[in-house]
Symmetry: C2
Subunit: 406 residues, 2 copies
């Protein structure tokens, strides 16, 4: 029996189910897989033997279509870090047991950095211990910080959500004629790719974000206040985009500046984001109207405004991961190689997963403007193709249709 197991891991995205569908489409097209199982909650499902039968859905085009546009991980997710098998091989043995029990020959793991670490360790374990299983990775992360792939599925949709939202917020803020600062906090602890997408809100000539601060560059409170004052001198409503992970020159998170002393009247320590810290800073230093906004989970699950380019590429990467697996590749990840920006052309390749795992691709410093509060044309040319196209998401009763697999 040539059975296949697929699983999803890490933070949800608007495109990770499209990659799952890509795998299932590949299964159907190849005719080389007998049965398809999904592991519930990532590798944990493989360890516990907690599998879902996916054979019915492979034959149901309509369900696959709905699954493509359903956000988050339909198989469930986890944040499980595999230990070195030389120190603790228990989980490895259990996974192998699950594989043998269900005649699974192929395992495709869709996820980010930690998941690729799992693919790396598991494929190495299998090779060195004489187990003939194929372990392939398919990339996913809104953070876009995966190495060896031009960009990561999920990023384009999150970037489209952010660019759209920033353009709408700019309209909202622009209606008032009193000085006001709005600070939008965007996901990204160490990589500012998502925050940079705030610049895309200007593509049609609108104002978009007036100031953009990525976590790759040291953040300076005094400089920030001076930047804001300079912008306020020109127009009343200022929109600022910041990475959640902005840090000062000593490497301390701006968001940590508040958690030290503040308590509410239940006596609990206050946990606040960077935007909220800066909101208080503006209130104190400038004294104008100020508001902070966290785009929060919406930026990773707003499938209704997903990028069609991202969804198609996510599908293709699922198909690619499957075809590599059928070709006998193991310990590798399906990836995107960009051939040109305009016209936008890519090809799908596979890369060694051990060069992906535990690396983090951040925004090159020369893609941030020298003044530190904006991004360059190079990164705009890089990002722009990734948000193109609107998806064919179906609505029923006024809300997007979604599917549950269990």
């Amino acid at each position: 029996m040539n059975n296949l197991l697929v699983a999803q891991s890490g933070g949800p995205t608007a495109a990770i189910n499209a990659t799952l569908v890509g795998v299932l489409q590949g299964v159907r097209a190849s005719g080389k897989i007998d049965k398809v199982y999904g592991a519930k909650n990532g590798i944990e499902g493989a360890i516990k033997g907690n599998l879902i039968d996916l054979n019915d859905i492979v034959r149901d085009t309509k369900a696959m279509d709905t699954l493509t546009y359903t956000p988050s991980s339909a198989l469930g997710t986890c944040r499980y870090k595999m230990k070195d098998w030389r120190k603790d091989d228990e989980p490895y043995k259990k996974i192998i047991e699950t594989f043998y029990k269900h005649d699974i020959k192929y395992f495709i793991y869709i996820g980010g950095n930690d998941s690729m670490d799992t693919v790396d360790k598991l494929s190495e374990y299998c090779k060195l211990n004489g187990h003939d299983f194929i372990i392939m990775g398919a990339p996913k992360t809104i953070d876009n910080d995966l190495n060896l792939t031009d960009h990561s599925p999920g990023y384009g949709s999150a970037a489209k959500y952010i660019a759209t939202t920033i353009s709408e917020l700019a309209c909202d803020i622009g209606a008032y004629d009193i000085p006001a600062v709005t600070i939008v906090e965007i996901m990204g602890r160490n990589a500012g790719w998502l925050t940079a997408s705030a610049a895309l809100a200007r593509l049609n000539g609108g104002p978009g974000a007036d100031l953009i601060y990525l976590c790759e560059k040291d953040f300076d409170n005094a400089r920030f206040i001076s930047d804001v004052k300079e912008k306020l001198a020109v127009k009343p409503g200022i929109l600022v985009a910041i990475s959640e992970g902005i840090k000062d020159k000593d490497g301390n998170y701006v968001s940590d500046q508040v958690s030290s002393g503040a308590v509410d009247n239940f006596g609990h320590k206050y946990i606040a984001g960077a935007a909220r810290v800066l909101e208080n800073l503006v209130r104190n230093e400038i004294g104008c109207k100020v508001r902070s906004i966290e785009l929060n989970l919406m930026q990773r699950c707003a499938a209704h405004i997903a990028s069609e380019t991202d969804i198609i590429e996510s599908l293709m990467l699922g198909q690619k991961a499957l075809s590599c697996a059928l070709d006998g590749e193991t310990g590798r990840m399906a990836a995107i190689k960009r051939l040109s920006d305009e016209p936008y052309r890519v090809e799908f390749i596979s890369v060694p997963v051990n060069e992906v795992a535990n690396h983090e691709k951040t925004v090159p410093l020369n893609w941030i403007t020298p003044d530190g509060h904006d991004v360059t044309d190079e990164i705009i040319a890089y990002m722009k193709p990734l948000i193109q196209g609107e998806t064919n998401v179906k609505f029923a009763n006024g809300i997007p249709m979604q599917i549950k697999l269990y």
Copy 2:
């Protein structure tokens, strides 16, 4: 000369420009208006004589189409409360001066409660002081708290954004199998209409929000914790929707519970929303993973997910306000009368603005379930038609097209 002045006021919505377009369409269709002006930043523009020429846009169908789907107030907005003219008639005199100077006979003011108060006072002033001007109101508010109209333009689009977002957040949260509570704070200080729309996320069978608390009902911390524990006993990821204006039985805002003592390490008093207060409460009382999300300005300006029903009605109300004005009606507001829920049928009427101004329509208590943490089928039947249909918003470069009028 039969000139017309139009203005927008109050908080932006995704549909207020559609009402402006409705007025302009009415102007074009009637052929009875010579020139159309827009007042910048609401009634303040009329007071200061700060007008924009809108004649070109009346003839540009494409621009009108883009304006229809551009969020926020394209003419700018204000939060200006007119004083009683018997106490201070200065602003009234200035408005009248603007009217005479530009041969303005008709004034249409698009806005919420405060704007209708302006329409009321200004029309009364004109009548009693022998000025033959026509002053008409057109409704707008995401809060849906306007009296004498079945619902308000802008509400349906905000409700569609909320229902969609809650359905997507439910997918995100549902992917994890560890106990976690996510609390979503929705606009509404005194009226819970928007929060109630979180229930619409369940229309296609998805889980949507597990608990919904409107500001119309006293909020009890202990009861809330007990509700959450009860839900957590059944499934791991719980989604809670609350109105920003929830209050305890003594009428104190839940959001006030934090502002008394908390300061950050700049020494600033902390201003937090109700969801953040409850986040800390859950952390302390239950100890599970917990997160708070504010839908913030996005809920009022997310034009990319506007309701087609809302946009069409907003257009129609602009047309209705104009046709009433041309018929000589003054001191009145265009409004919606519902004829039936299913099939959904409405008619457009006009109502006396003095019965709209300074009233606030809240959610009837019998539309909240007796347990206080959900809404009834009656309000779902009321809300459901208002979020139907997706708009024809155009995209360019991957983001929605928008127009600026100045």
